[in-house]
Amino acid sequence: MFDAGPTRKPLVEVRGLKMHFPIMAGVLRRRIGAVKAVDGVSFDILEGETLGLVGESGCGKSTCGRAILRLYDITEGTIRINGHDIARASHAELRKLRPTMQMVFQDPQASLNPRMTVAKIIAEPLDEHTTLTRREKMQRVHELMDAVGLSRDFANRFPHEFSGGQRQRIGIARALALNPKFIVCDEPIAALDVSIQAQVVNLLEDLQDQFGLTYLFISHDLSMVRHIADRVAVMYLGKVVELAPREALYSAPLHPYTQALLSAVPEPDPSVRSTTERIILQGDVPSPANPPEGCNFSTRCPRVMEICRRQEPEFREAAAGHFVACHLCTPQSETTAGATAATAVPKSVQQGE
């Protein structure tokens, strides 16, 4: 279960990542505040593993994924991918680093240029970073199309002639073109039919085995994340509230938000369904431009305490490899949180396969 041991080194290290978007207003376009889309996120992704990043809409998942690839100029923090500092690299340096990190986008329709043929779309990374001849490029494009299960006959077609699943395969082929080490999958299955989702996820898994890829898999589909991810990070309002190996997180979530989130996953077994308690959160997610004082979740937490409204909880290791940011799990509040943590950890070991 905890196979992500110290033997494997982290490929991606994110420390204190902050991405604030300024809010401008007035005639003079003065800065009156900032949307704290990502507000101090830290995690590692080990080589060859899949880190699932889950959370509800607008919690900063996608922004986080894009910021890691420096598609935005980040506000604060450090990002190291394969030992290279991404956060402070100049544009020229960044361009050289691009081949190691790629991205698969959410909307396969919007992420493909409607005026380029499939061959041109897949060959774009090759045009930018290699000096292959035309024939070699075409050869590589055909290899990639084989790898993602697209017929070579489609090379001269345009994106609008394909179904959603096929378009996503084109996007994946483009991401693979330069043999990257790390791929950010930004909700790659959210825009697809359920029947196609499984195909695309299986394709991603096969490619991971084949090429030894490392994924950051952003999704709000908890069951899909459980299927593909090795470890899972849960985000709420720009912060990671819990980060744990998959089985530990799904069987014994420590953070009340994770518990609520998991209780919302439909349970196919009726006998189990009747016993599980559905935690329904009250209210809405606060505005990321004006997050609450103390713990971000304090406004909606069913087990909120007095300290939560004053002091921000620390993101710390509650069990081996299981990080959580909640006052319920800190030693100072042992009396309330002790029971949860103590029962949670052994249970997770039993259920882990």
Binding site: L71, L94, F105, L112, N113, R115, E124, E128, D153, N156
Partner: protein
């Protein structure tokens, strides 16, 4: 997957060029085809016509003045006995050349300003204010002032005809790029936020190639429409300038000047006004149809439908 699409796939694999597809789609637009036929016909006529119709446009035959259409003079003659057909042919050369070059100039300017303003946030404010400034200028008085100021210097430098040609093309070009710039900027702004641009950025495509590869092909439709309207506009503006007597020298026929000269004789010979007028309107109409067809043909989403 049906057999038909498979057959088509086989054909695609054979390396069918995209321009063949564009032509296939263009052919289905009847108006565009007719317009193109007419435009080619007019172009060939004004290019090669003066050699075939060997009456010089400036040849004065005072005995044959103010004649109606006949075999010797298919479009009649003017008050000095000059052959109207020869003059329309010679005038078409200038009018078409002015139209195409002025359109090209305004298109390049408009697209450049529009793309730069839309793509680079820092340039947006200054460039758009410049566009507003040009839009706010009253066109005709401005043209008159420019022509008054620079006509003689340019004439001295390049000769009377070339000098005035450069001046008119330049003047029309720099006073008609604003609409294109605005439309292009708007489209670029919305394109810039599309995911495929983000995807290209994640690949590491630098800005200039991003513009050439992703932005420009996708703003082709509005540019195309602007271009065809631009030719029409340029021909009409040149006609207006000639009509006001500020265009080419008086012995140098253009469609606009022919129209201007004929108005005095409208009651006497109404058909003299009709010929250049017809030439202008039919050319403009045909160019608009070509633009319409091209826009559809260049969009792969519409193609094959």
């Amino acid at each position: 997957m049906t057999d038909a699409t498979l057959a088509q796939a086989g054909r695609n694999r054979a390396g069918r060029s995209q321009w063949a597809d564009v032509w296939d789609q263009f052919k289905t637009h009847r108006g565009a085809l007719l317009g193109m036929g007419f435009f080619i016909f007019v172009s060939l006529l004004v290019i090669f016509g003066p050699w075939l119709w060997d009456i010089p446009p400036n040849y004065i035959d005072i005995r044959a003045k103010n004649q109606g259409p006949s075999l010797a003079h298919p479009m009649g003659t003017d008050q000095l006995g000059r052959d109207t057909f020869a003059q329309v042919l010679a005038g078409g050369r200038v009018s078409l050349l002015v139209g195409v070059t002025a359109m090209a100039l305004s298109l390049v300017l408009g697209t450049l300003v529009g793309v730069l303003a839309g793509y680079f946030k820092r340039l947006d404010g200054p460039l758009m204010r410049l566009t507003d400034l040009f839009l706010a200028l009253p066109l005709l008085p401005l043209l008159l002032v420019i022509i008054m100021l620079f006509r003689d210097t340019l004439r001295a430098a390049f000769g009377p005809e070339t000098g005035i040609f450069i001046l008119i093309v330049f003047v029309i070009g720099i006073t008609s790029w604003m609409q294109t710039a605005r439309i292009v900027r708007g489209d670029v702004l919305s394109l810039k936020e599309q995911e495929f641009v983000l995807a290209a950025r994640s690949i590491g495509t630098p800005s200039h190639r991003m513009i050439l590869r992703h932005i420009l092909p996708n703003v082709l439709s509005p540019i195309m429409v602007s271009a065809t309207l631009g030719i029409a506009n340029a021909i009409i503006t040149e006609s207006a300038l000639s009509f006001l007597g500020l265009g080419f020298p008086s012995d140098f026929p253009t469609w606009g000047r022919l129209l201007f000269d004929s108005t005095n004789f409208m009651t006497l010979n109404p058909e003299r006004v009709i010929w250049p007028g017809l030439a202008i309107s039919l050319t403009v109409l045909s160019v608009n149809y070509i633009g319409d067809g091209l826009r559809d043909a260049l969009d792969p989403r519409i193609r094959g439908r």
